[in-house]
Subunit: 147 residues, 2 copies
DNA sequence: AATCATGTAACTAGTGATGTTACATGAAGG
DNA sequence: CCTTCATGTAACATCACTAGTTACATGATT
């Protein structure tokens, strides 16, 4: 089971918002993501706290992007979500007194730190604008196949 | 919360077994790991199925290593444990019909695949013998400080 | 004032490792 | 043979966390 799909969800939501004129309601986003509107609000609220989106109540309310797509990287979104744990693996005692466990933690910890650094680096290199362009390319491709 | 510390646990257990003469009981290993003996049996059983350790019942029974420490890598142990999920992040729909989600999955999936490949590569390069040597070095260091 | 949408609390569901109890099975020693 | 010791395994509880759901308050627009 995937433990945390929020980064994927907010990316999906943000791209839909980028392609959409005017604010989108939590319910509309929930239909796009096949997710519950309350969960959408809960997750988007973290992006609002980070200054990436804004929400408005009442008629014609909803969510809209207030940041430049070119400057928002996946890493920034990951941070906005509270930097949830990336790895499902780990060790129980962080600072063990046992020398054996220290050796284990050193080896395991280094490999995982390298993998995490690589992932965060990749996240930092991809912006919402990149994804929007990739979507546009896929969209054009499908239209070309049909036409 | 760490979801899966089994790799760390079996490494810890195997190194203790390597430093110990004769088989070690689940209860003794449980004391080393601060874990429940039944959990130890459950986890070590996977290594037994992979041919890395053997178990014996009755008096003077317990667990012992039957593989060459030089040839057992962290990756092989990870495989013996059933290759549990490495990432805590992911997306919900693997093959979405939505083009937006396809673009998201492609970007996210590639970054995560790279990170996973790096981690598995690092795991493949570290053997139990390497860890045993690292432990011996740490042990000598501590004795030097005391003496 | 009615309607619409967010804000948020409170609770449930689902997942997977880990903890725990209980009991069967087999091996060694008296 | 029988007791003891240790694994083998089933069954259930616990824990942590995201996601789903219900309910209601708050604020903005018409």
């Amino acid at each position: 089971m995937i433990r945390d799909s929020r980064l994927s969800s907010v990316l999906h939501a943000l791209l839909h918002m980028a392609e959409h004129d005017g604010p989108m309601t939590s319910e509309a986003l929930g239909r796009c993501l096949a997710a519950n509107p309350v969960v959408v609000r809960r997750t988007m609220g973290l992006l609002r706290d980070a200054g990436l989106v804004a929400s408005e109540r009442g008629h014609a309310g909803g969510w809209r992007i207030v940041a430049d797509l070119e400057t928002v990287s996946l890493r920034r979104l990951h941070e906005a979500l509270g930097e949830p744990a990336i790895h499902a693996l780990g060790h129980r005692h962080e600072t063990p007194s046992c020398l054996v466990e220290q050796a284990v933690n050193a080896a395991l910890g280094q490999a995982m730190a390298e993998a995490e650094a690589l992932l965060l680096d990749r996240f930092a290199q991809v912006t919402l604008a990149d994804l929007a362009r990739d979507f546009a390319r896929r969209h054009a491709e499908v239209r070309a196949q049909k036409g």
